[in-house]
């Protein structure tokens, strides 16, 4: 049996670049064979700002994954979460021949093609066209109408699109690192595949991926994909706010304050309470104290604003009340102290940090920070299967959580 070509995904985040390689083992399960990360430089708010630095980060992560997977990685599925990503709903209708009103795969494909043919905003590129559901004769909503009888079939589709310029710059950086891009997937869609369960999707859920440079979301409502997008506000903004608020010379000191002492909520802190930045965190400057409530206020203001924007977006989609399973957080920002409580207060529903069930990732301190890459690996494996590998059992094993 010839050796398998590894399935590889690459995420060039604002703070971290992740490369994962996977294979299907003899028991038809997806196994992560290579995992490489590097600190990203040359990327801000999900955009390439310094090409050569970004290329260097990509090479480091790919090299580490190659080494662990013991293979030469030359191509990958690119994960993209640029800040100008949005989704558009469209539909396509097909009237069936009165002599043959049984819906088959061709009719479904025709309805999908019509729905996919919608006009997108200028200067954007389509990342995904996802069927939300089908409507039969304007009355019945179904997810798989094949074999049913109808006069008319409507396919409802969610198109996820992003800015051409941002995506092109990211693609250029990856190609400059000598990695061929096999396809491109939207980050929050991948994160959803990484952590969401079938039950959560059925009940309605909002996944929020809190990255370093962007906040991405994927919403399920009425058992369908309801909204997806990304805007360019992330953990870097919190760090920047702290640096400016406390007149800190080093972003690293602000980062230390954010991760070690800050909270997204203002509970249990008095106006006069103070903390200390130790000498090792001030990077040469003398040890200094700071007002703890002010620190929490800075972080709370930023994160409250971010989630209120998300709430408004969901409200605009008329799905705010449809998240029976609440909100699931992924990304490094999910581990910000107090953020879960903040989200619960803003959305008035439960909030949890997404769980990644891969044993290797589960050992890490912040596994949900890698949910996007892990989910992308699962989706890429599914793509492989769809390409014609005759191993149907993969599907159930890889997607035992259900898509």
């Amino acid at each position: 049996m010839p050796p398998q070509t590894p399935i590889v995904v690459l995420e060039v985040g604002t703070t971290r670049t992740v490369c994962m390689a996977g294979m299907i083992d003899d028991e038809d399960s997806l196994v992560m064979t290579g995992f490489g990360t590097s600190a990203t430089t040359g990327v801000r708010k999900g955009e390439i700002t310094e090409l050569q630095y970004a290329v260097s980060s990509i090479r480091s992560a790919v090299e580490a994954a190659s080494k662990e997977a013991r293979c030469d990685i030359r191509s990958a599925c690119l994960i993209y979460s640029g800040g100008s990503t949005e989704s558009t709903h469209s539909h396509g209708r097909v009237t069936l021949d009165p002599r043959h009103q049984v819906i088959d795969s061709e009719i479904m494909a025709e309805a999908r093609d019509i729905a996919r043919d919608c006009t997108l905003p200028p200067d954007t590129k389509r990342l995904h066209s996802i069927v939300s559901n089908y409507i039969i004769d304007d009355t019945r909503v179904v997810h798989n109408p094949e074999g049913l009888t109808a006069n008319q079939l409507q396919a409802n589709m969610l198109s996820i699109h992003t800015s051409i310029s941002g995506l092109t710059a990211m693609s250029n950086a990856v190609q400059e690192a000598q990695i061929e891009i096999m396809n491109c997937k939207f980050g929050a869609l991948c994160a959803g595949a990484g952590v969401l369960t079938a039950e959560q999707k059925k009940a309605g859920v909002l996944l929020v991926d809190l990255g370093g440079g962007t906040t991405s979301y994927l919403a399920y409502a009425d058992e369908s994909y309801a909204a997806a997008g990304s805007f360019a506000v992330g953990g870097d903004h919190v760090t920047n706010d702290i640096a400016l608020g406390f007149h800190l010379a080093s972003v690293k000191t602000a980062e230390w304050l954010k991760t070690s002492s800050s909270s997204a909520i203002l509970d249990n802190v008095t106006p006069t309470e103070r903390g200390t930045i130790p000498a090792h965190a001030t990077l040469g400057a003398p040890e200094r104290s700071y007002n703890l409530r002010s620190l929490h206020t800075i972080v709370n203001a930023r994160l409250e604003e971010t989630f209120k924007i998300l709430r408004t977006i969901m409200d605009n989609h008329n799905i705010l009340s449809k998240f029976g399973a609440g909100v699931v957080l992924t990304g490094g920002g999910a581990y910000q102290n107090g953020v879960v409580q903040l989200v619960e207060r803003i959305f008035q529903c439960p909030c949890i940090i997404g769980e990644v069930d891969d044993p290797k990732l589960a050992e890490l301190q912040q596994p949900a920070a890698f949910a996007t890459a892990y989910g992308a690996l699962r989706l890429a494996a599914l793509d492989e299967m769809r390409k014609g590998r005759e191993r149907p059992s993969w599907f159930s094993r890889i997607f035992n959580k259900g898509l």
Partner: protein, 383 residues
């Protein structure tokens, strides 16, 4: 209250202050002018302007050094002073130079203060030369979008174009010429509502124009003298590629024309100018005009045009303004009221160097790269 009192001329930053001072000089003190700057030595030289010195504790009066974020914070700290300045004002003419720290950092704060007091604003922003570094160019372009969000009508003029006729002069003379040329054009706008003429534009009309024409506009100014002055002035106005008036005329929805002449200004000349302009305009263009007679001008005829790129009938504009000005929380802003793009290809990096080379994130008319606590004016003990 006189019309002059209703006007406030505000120059922001070094370039804005110089132009404001030059205009104030021409009005012999009749137009109240204010200069806002972080460079105290420079602003002290602007003797005809009231001086607002911002960022004393941050910059020691030495200028911002291009630190847009710090200027933004300093301007926010002076918000109350700026608001007091605007007391009793109903129209503010804001002049600024973009690309540097003070103009880019403080101008949005000035426009926001004006908006909060329901004061109409007309902003003239000069843009960096082509040969200036990309960073300044980007900062200027990004700031323009912020100005569009915060103000009413925004006119940009590239330094390259303003100095196009004086590139061979010594730099100091070229700058002076450009400043004087722009100042003369802006002065004409003020004169239209404050000086005698055959046809006056009153304050209410100008305010309505700024309300209806919110967004970008193109400004043109040209002069000529001698017997063929109207043809020459018109040709200078229409054919100067740097002004872009002729190319803009064919598609604009509204336009303001000001004609300035001496006591020898003839009605026929006014009629001819308007007839020629109408030939270039779309039939449904909302055209307003006014004339100014200045006895000091002999045989010179000047034309100033303001071409509005968008036009909303004033009733609808009223609703828009009302809605925008009463919205406090950007996250709750109705989309129609927020003229900003949610994640725009936009504006300026007011948040510091960290986001300098990225597209700004705009939502509900606010630059989300600027710290939330600053935009919300939350009290932070930074010590």
């Amino acid at each position: 209250m006189t019309s002059s009192d209703r006007f406030l001329l505000i120059g922001v930053g070094g370039a804005g202050g110089r132009i404001a001072n030059s205009i104030a000089q021409s009005t012999a003190g009749r137009l109240k002018a204010v200069a806002i700057d972080t460079d105290f030595e420079a602003v002290a030289k602007l003797g005809l302007c009231q001086q607002i010195r911002v960022g004393r504790s941050r910059f020691d009066g030495l200028g911002s050094g291009g630190n847009v974020t710090a200027v933004r914070m300093a301007a926010d700290e002076e918000a109350e002073t700026i608001r007091k300045l605007l007391d009793d004002t109903t129209l503010a003419l804001v002049v600024t130079g973009l690309g540097g720290g003070t103009g880019s950092g403080a101008t949005p704060a000035v426009l926001k203060a004006a908006r909060s007091l329901n004061i109409r604003t007309l902003t003239f922003a000069t843009m960096p030369f082509d040969f200036e570094e990309t960073e300044r160019q980007q900062l200027a372009k990004r700031t323009c979008l912020l100005l569009e969000e915060a103000g009413d009508v925004i006119v940009t003029a590239a330094n390259q174009d303003l100095c196009s006729n004086s590139f061979d002069l010594p730099a100091i003379e070229a700058f002076a010429a450009a400043t004087n040329h722009l100042a003369a054009g802006l002065l004409l706008l003020w004169q239209l509502v404050n000086c005698s003429g055959y046809i006056r534009i009153d304050y209410a009309m100008l305010a309505n124009l700024l309300l209806g024409g919110r967004g970008r506009a193109t400004f043109g100014f040209a002069s000529a003298d001698g017997p063929q002055r109207f043809e020459l002035a018109l040709a200078n106005l229409l054919d100067d590629p740097h002004l872009g008036v002729r190319s803009g005329l064919q598609k604009i929805p509204a336009m303001l024309v000001g004609i300035l002449g001496g006591e020898d200004l003839r009605l026929k000349e006014i009629g001819d100018v308007m007839a020629r302009l109408k030939m270039e305009l779309p039939p449904d263009c909302d055209l307003r005009m006014g004339t100014v007679m200045d006895p000091a001008l002999d045989s010179t005829l000047s034309l100033a045009t303001l071409l509005f790129h968008s036009w909303t009938p004033s009733d609808a504009a009223d609703i828009l303004i009302e809605s925008a000005s009463t919205t406090k929380d950007p996250a709750d802003a109705p989309r129609l009221a927020s003229r900003g793009r949610r994640t725009g290809k936009a504006v300026n990096n007011l948040a510091g160097d960290r986001f300098k080379s990225t597209h700004a994130t705009i939502y509900g008319g606010e630059d989300l790269d600027v710290p939330t606590f600053m935009r919300r004016s939350l009290r932070i003990d930074s010590n």
